[in-house]
Symmetry: C2
Subunit: 365 residues, 2 copies
Amino acid sequence: MDEIVFAYDKEKGEAFLKRLLGRKPLFTCVIGTTETAKIPGISAAGKNPEITHYTPPADVELLLLGRCECIPSVPVTPEGIPTPALITRVALKLAEIPAIVVSGGLKVRPQVPFIELGGSPGKDIRTGNAVDNAGKVMEKAIIVGENLAKTVDYLVVGESVPGGTTTALGVLLAMGVAAEGKVSSSMPSNPHKLKIETVKAGLEASNIKFGALANNPLKAISCVGDPVMPAFAGLVMGAAGEVPVLMAGGTQMSAILAIIKALKPEVLDNLAIGTTRWIISDKKADIVSLVKQIAPVPVLAVNLDFSSSKFEGLKAYEAGAVKEGVGAGGACIAAILKSMGAISTGEIFVEIEKAYSQLIHSDLR
Amino acid sequence: MDEIVFAYDKEKGEAFLKRLLGRKPLFTCVIGTTETAKIPGISAAGKNPEITHYTPPADVELLLLGRCECIPSVPVTPEGIPTPALITRVALKLAEIPAIVVSGGLKVRPQVPFIELGGSPGKDIRTGNAVDNAGKVMEKAIIVGENLAKTVDYLVVGESVPGGTTTALGVLLAMGVAAEGKVSSSMPSNPHKLKIETVKAGLEASNIKFGALANNPLKAISCVGDPVMPAFAGLVMGAAGEVPVLMAGGTQMSAILAIIKALKPEVLDNLAIGTTRWIISDKKADIVSLVKQIAPVPVLAVNLDFSSSKFEGLKAYEAGAVKEGVGAGGACIAAILKSMGAISTGEIFVEIEKAYSQLIHSDLR
């Protein structure tokens, strides 16, 4: 299946795909907002930093309703590139994969149903005090994961949290993963310097040295993480005791992996990371190096190609804009697998073109 | 299977059970609180009227955790009879049936995960203005039902809302169902007079004549219903388009049925009501008369018998205390069916005795 590329550990990756082929998945999307995302230049998940609070709720509204309710149009980058939620929606719809939204902590609530875990929005990691109640939120997420695992054959978990690669960098450094210059970005020009400065300010404020929290991921999240992390990791740990879990995201997934390795290493064999080709071919980041340092978990990437798109907004993905988010890569992989390959990346692309065209036209009305 | 009694439409009921036998269910519990429950003498779902706000969250905490967090011990009636959540927990655990909690509108939030639909707690129906945003909550619940239906073979939907038979009476009368003296009660002595007075005050305040809202269930809910109704009905309507749904509850289910008949009659064939023997043998209520007036939906009852219990708190069920709630009857039916009868009412009873004994002893510590 050359629709899915093996970026790390092909053998394990092929075995993992075989276990999912033709089986029934559930897609979950964990959302959260942070003050970190409002630092100018950190996140392109919104037209401007202020509006990043609306991006995760708008993403899941698009996912479940096909339109956004909390903002007038779909989330875009400052350059107008549309959210990857568009890709996720198309993939799930084509394959009739159900979706459930989980909140890690939100400033703005979506106008669609979501699972509440009692979390709060994330604060600015430069305070060294980023996330409240990480442990409680994780406990509740574990319960959700355990219960959802009894409904389907496997779980796909995606996320939407602006500034998420910066908070991932924070947790990775606190836990001793050499991650400087390796996390990805929703911008073609990855602002590594700004991210590192931001994270270092947080680590200093909380007096954490590199690797000091290798065995204390909850403290790492609390100091320099984001509210999606405890929810995401809890969901995965709860479900992966029973069924395989495809962690759908880019370099942020390595932070989740580090958290899980510290808390429940026995489930690592039940995990894979599912992402997009844009992430694994990103020259300004290195997901494989990050994952290799943590655990031998396969990294799979869907071979989506937007180079022939009629729309500049989608073509921009080929130039490194956006790349991943809202579990886009993993959702496509699940759609291909559920349909035993009947749904192809080509078909997904055609449907994305149609959906984007409809969105543009409804925006013009 | 004499473990399950057919109270109405045996033929349809047997056909329905056959469709579920050996299949994979998901249990959902819709919870809500109301000011109506605080009218003295209306509800026994709590030690005193004030504490009824804690009963639904405590019920689902018991369900998912095996202990309550928001109150020090399990919910009891003023006489100390324990919540039926105990029955539900035992049945689901025995049969390894997953559970998801849905909030219709709560004054007190549970310390477990739940699906948020944006609803508010219910007001006193005597104001004639009981539930806010019923339509919006129902829309969101439909989305949840549609998605959950894609994960399992069938859905079981239970509820916990103190004062729920009074609000059911309100909606039934507004919709033209002759329900006076027919709704059940968590007390052995059913306070029909108080319920009717309460409902009539609400109908007068909102200027609604008997049957005037037969085709406008959302208005009936808004005026004299409770916040569980739009969530419960939406969940059922969303799921029953695709899979069978067992509506797990007592006479309140007739109000839900009337709502669904008015809004989506085409799914009625996919529904049954699952309850307890204590409900169908209740001389002070008449579930069959209520259901017959609305739609030919089978009524099934689990043949649980607590007469040989070592505990007065459980024996009291045989004298008409509590009777049903938190989907207890439906959860037992689902456990029996999932296990193809390997789990019996006898085994469920033995496990309930054990669980209750543990609860009593942990309370004494």
